[in-house]
Subunit: 208 residues, 2 copies
């Protein structure tokens, strides 16, 4: 296992038992999350935007409208914080206060760089398509020059980052264990439903 160095920011919020800079664990959370919550500062105030995020190597990638306000904000070059979180379970304790949740979350700190090379941009976007649905990048019409020019792609290095996690049963106070209250975990997961074709799909064409 490889670890990222600890910085004042990645140390700031840690409960030591739950936090690490273990790179494989960080990448696993990123790869399993389709959405990041991207924080940046404008006029001294924070904005947190939910946005698709994906990984290429040791970079976390985002895309936005080329002249949109988010792209403009990122081009200012200020610090950002991208957080990706997965809810794994509801932890039901015998007392109100020991209720908790099982989760994994990653915070990535740094400055996002815009990808300006068209080939690199194209390739990064196709990685996102395959993240959404593996194998799909080879099926769809790739972006043309005009579409590429309309899209801003940014890369945030996964260099100052931390993964935090809670797993396992409730940690009840010993004198609560005799209460006639159910204790344990209700698992939570995100699932895909039955694909719903639009009106243009010809008969016999299935999603593959």
């Amino acid at each position: 296992m490889s670890h990222l160095p600890t910085t004042p920011r990645t140390q700031a919020f840690r409960r030591k038992t739950r936090v690490s800079g273990e790179i494989e664990a960080i990448h696993a959370v990123v790869d399993q999350s389709l959405v990041a919550h991207l924080g940046f500062v404008q006029d001294g105030a924070p904005f947190v935007m939910p946005t698709n995020a994906w990984r290429v190597g040791d970079g976390l990638y985002f895309h936005f409208a080329i002249n949109g306000r988010i792209a403009e904000a990122l081009r200012q070059g200020g610090e950002v914080c991208a957080t990706l979180s997965i809810l794994d379970g509801l932890v039901m304790a015998r007392s109100a206060m020991h209720h908790s949740v099982n989760y994994r979350s990653v915070m990535v700190f740094g400055r996002a760089q815009e990808i300006v090379d068209d080939r690199e941009k194209h390739d990064a976007l196709m990685v996102l398509v395959d993240k959404v649905h593996p194998g799909r990048a080879a099926q769809v019409r790739p972006p043309d020059d005009k579409e590429l020019a309309a899209t801003a792609v940014f890369r945030l290095p996964i260099a100052e980052a931390t993964v935090k996690s809670r797993q396992g049963p409730p940690q009840d106070r010993a004198d609560d264990l005799g209460l006639p209250v159910w204790g344990g975990v209700i698992p939570v997961r995100q699932v895909l439903g039955q694909p719903e074709p639009d009106q243009h799909v010809p008969a016999g064409l299935e999603l593959t």
Copy 2:
């Protein structure tokens, strides 16, 4: 339907067809989301923390360790942005660029106020317990004075807020519709699994 007034911040990122300040829609997203991503600024840099969030009336509530770094940061009184998002579907277009996601998300801007009255704090925390599992607040041991004293509760008014949403099928370019590529939506939802009792649950006691 009632609407919140538009401010420079809630107007800042809107695509007009997708965004509104409609209060009932904002509350609905908040009530369906157990996790908010809370952004605040420290030393000029953003932090985005995933945290449980719940609603009481027109307030969005959070709880943290009383002397933890997040509570300390919120007590500084700076602007925060709390974002709650629900992923509803993967939108599969015939072209890479028209892929999208269906979602609902809420951003709430403002300054969080700490709840210092013990009764109000207690009652707010019990609302969270019932949000996690309806009816549970009446079953569990309520917080005692020491537990209450260890917990900081904050309220962010849902007064400057916006809800953004995309729903529906892909919006393909007309000349892509003839491509032999499946198009439509793959629904996404969060589901609860089979409850997993811990080792202390007596035989015959079920989660209710």
